[in-house]
Every structure is written in C-alpha cells, then in structure tokens.
C-alpha cells in the first residue's frame, strides 16, 4: 500500500493535540530512545545513529505511531556535509522504490520492527528503511523516509520529515508525520515496535562525473564540534500515537574519551 506525503506540520499538530488530550484510561506508550555517532570523534565527519523502542504498559501492541519530533544537539555542523547532493522526488520513490532516485540523494538507512494485527493474534515484519533527500519545504531540508515491507504485509510507504539544521549554538530538529499503515482491509493499523536508522555517510556510495568518467566517492557527513558539551550530546524526542497519547524520551551520546 502506498501512502502519500503528508504535511510535516501535521507532526506538530499531532504533538500538540496529543499533549492536550487525556491519556487512554490504562494503557500508555513508553519509548526508549537510542542515539550514537560513528565515528564518535570531535571535529570529525560522522554518521548519526537514531532509533527507538516503543512498548505499551498493558503489554499489548503499542498504539500506531503518528508523529516523531527529534531535537538534535547544538554544535553539529551541517555546513560540512555533502550528503544529499541530489533530490529525490517522492512520486518517483513511490513508483520505483530506491531505483527511482539518484544514489546521491541517499542520506542513510536502517530497518523497523512492526507488529501486524491479525484478528486476535499478531505477526511481525521487518521493513527496510531508507532516508533520502527530498525537495525542500519552506526553505528547509526535507528527509524522505521510505519503508519497504514485504511479508506479511506488502507495503511501500513514503513519509517526510523536515530537518531544521542547527548551528554552533542552536539545536536542530527533525519533525516527521508518520502515516497509519493498515494491516488488512478493515483491520487495525500496524504498530511500530522499534526503528533503527542512520543519517550519515556510513555504507553510502555517491557518484560523480569526472572528465567523462563516472567516479564513486563517499560523501562527507555532518561534523561534530571540536568541543563536547558538558554532559555529552543530548537528544530528545517526542512521539505522538493514534490513541491520542504521547511520550517523550531522551538520549545522550557521551563525550568521546580523550586520547
């Protein structure tokens, strides 16, 4: 099933609404946020690892995720990166998958673990996730997330996140509205249990034309600052769920050890 792009503003609306609504009677979602830098070296180009695990306090499947807002630490240098030298059009991505976009538009990749309800029971699926550079929105960088599930639910989904790049002193943010993913006709949407993905050059190869030849190269990622903030690099995230609840989580990448 293919879902169209939604306005990134929906994410903010969802988060606002979620915080204004009372939580469901007993059940609530809890989220653990995971973040990493690879390499974790001050001043170096790095790949940001980002992931989360969602659980429900009543032990059942978590409510379907509808919005994620990730706050990134200040000092990360986006000026240095050559990631996303090409722009991927969402329609091409939906129609042709990853082959529909230039390799130079890839920003990272990972996978998800989703619970698919079938009647009284559930199945599980591990769709691939690709992050690509989308057309800018209101002057901001747009990250397209492409999830490709095969079994038991065959689904390709594209949704967008808007990246507000930070600066030396200002933190950045990535806000995404996540579409609901129906499992079977008339069935409940699937529940995202966990996600692991990267934004960075690790595992990516770009291509350019040099004197009539196609040459591969590895893009440069965002750079870590030369000095580590006290307490490390702090990330925070808000998650909005279909049942109207929300959850917050934080994660810190410790300062690298001095050599």
């Amino acid at each position: 099933m293919i879902r169209s792009l939604r306005s990134v503003a929906l994410g903010a609306i969802l988060l606002t609404c979620a915080s204004a609504l009372p939580a469901a009677a007993d059940a609530a979602e809890t989220v653990v946020l995971h973040t990493s830098f690879s390499p974790d070296r001050l001043g170096a180009s790095t790949t940001i690892g980002f992931g989360f695990d969602i659980a429900n306090t009543d032990g059942g499947p978590p409510s379907p995720l509808q919005g994620v807002s990730l706050r990134l630490p200040a000092g990360i240098n986006y000026l240095s990166t050559t990631l996303g030298l090409a722009i991927c059009q969402p329609a091409a991505l939906l129609a042709h998958g990853l082959a529909g976009c230039s390799p130079n538009s890839r920003l990272g990749f990972g996978s998800a673990y989703v619970e698919v309800p079938f009647g009284q029971t559930s199945a599980y699926e591990i769709p691939d996730i690709q992050a690509l550079m989308g057309p800018p929105h209101d002057g901001n960088i747009v990250v397209l997330f492409y999830a490709n599930g095969r079994e038991p639910v065959y689904a390709q989904i594209v949704f967008a996140g808007e990246l507000i790049a930070g600066s030396e002193t200002l933190s950045g943010s990535l806000d995404a509205a996540v579409p609901l993913i129906p499992s079977i006709a008339g069935g409940s949407p699937v529940s995202i249990v966990s996600v692991r993905t990267t934004i960075g050059p690790a595992g990516l190869t770009y291509y350019e034309h040099v004197h009539g030849r196609t040459v591969s190269f590895h893009p440069t990622g965002v750079s870590l600052p030369l000095r580590c903030p006290r307490g490390g690099f702090s990330f925070a995230a808000s998650f909005a769920f279909q049942d109207g609840t929300s959850a917050q989580a934080t994660s810190t990448v410790p300062c690298p050890r001095r050599r």
């Binding site: 240098n77 986006y78 000026l79 240095s80 990166t81 050559t82 996303g84 030298l85 090409a86 722009i87 130079n104 538009s105 550079m133 800018p136 002057g139 901001n140 960088i141 507000i164 790049a165 930070g166 600066s167 030396e168 200002l170 950045g172 350019e208 600052p225 030369l226």
Partner: protein
C-alpha cells in the same frame, strides 16, 4: 590578506572612471559589460559577479577567494558564516585596481540538493584608495555554494556612493 597599493584616479571623478573602465572591458560575461549608471552625483550602480573557490573551512565558516567582474572587478574574498539553520553572515572584500571595498552582509540560506543558495543584503562600510569613503547601505547580495566543493558564485548589485 593581501592588500594592493592604492592609486588615486587622477582628474576624472570616480564615477566617470568606473564608467570608462566598464566600457573598456571588451569581452566577458554580460554583467561585466553593463555600463556604470550614475544615479546621483557620486553614486554608481554597482553590478558585480564573482566566482570563488574555497581556501579554508573553519567550523561554520567558509573562506573563499576568487575574481569579481562587472562594474569594478578585481580580486574578491568572502567569509561566509552559517549562524543559524537558515541564515549566513558574510564579510566581503573586493580589491579592484587602485583601492578596496569592504562590506558586511546577512542573507537567508537554503540547501537545495547539490547547492545551497543565499540571498540578502550587504553594507559597504569601508573603502580605500580610489574608493576611499565609498559607502552602500543595502546592496543586494545573492549567490550559491556548490556543496561538493564549496565553490561560491556571488552577485552584488545596487547603488554605491563614492
């Protein structure tokens, strides 16, 4: 940064001199052929374009050097500093024949795939030599940065009082 020895333009006013220089520029890009248009006494319409390459990069600052062509021409240096997700500040120094111009600007900044663009205004705060006392309060300041190699193109336009 290198500084050229300034030479006073004898006789003619600077505006006339600039017009002559611009007219004397035979071939070149279209903007380089544009004649200087005097707006008021001592005011010229500046139209300058530059092509620069990266000389160094320090944190959020790109240091660029290149050549400018247009109303005045010469060697151009730009320091571009990313101050927020969508804003850059700049210091621009141009060394035309016989003097120099220095200015500071601010511009919006957006990444569009293989390049980033900036658009804003620039104030000429200082001139030396033939451009001693030159001033401009709000030159239009636009350009692009090729993200693969940080090469910059820049356009400056607007009234310059000399």
């Amino acid at each position: 940064m290198a500084y050229r020895v300034s030479r006073r333009v004898g006789g003619a006013t600077l505006a006339c001199c600039l017009a002559s220089v611009a007219a004397a520029l035979g071939s070149g890009i279209a903007q380089a052929r544009q004649p200087v248009v005097g707006l008021d006494a001592g005011t010229v319409s500046l139209s300058e374009s530059g092509h620069l390459h990266l000389t160094s990069k320090h944190g959020f600052t790109l240091n660029e050097q290149g050549s400018a062509a247009g109303t005045i021409g010469g060697t151009i240096y730009i320091h571009l500093r990313l101050v927020s997700s969508s804003r850059v500040t700049s210091e621009v120094n141009i060394y035309p024949h016989g003097g120099s111009l220095s200015g500071y600007g601010s511009a919006s900044y957006h990444v569009v795939g293989s390049y980033a663009s900036f658009s804003g205004s620039l104030k000429i705060a200082r001139g030396t030599g033939s451009y001693d006392g030159a001033r401009a309060s709000a030159l239009r300041f636009t350009g692009t940065i090729q993200r693969r190699n940080d090469a910059v193109t820049v356009q400056l336009s607007g009234p310059l009082t000399v």
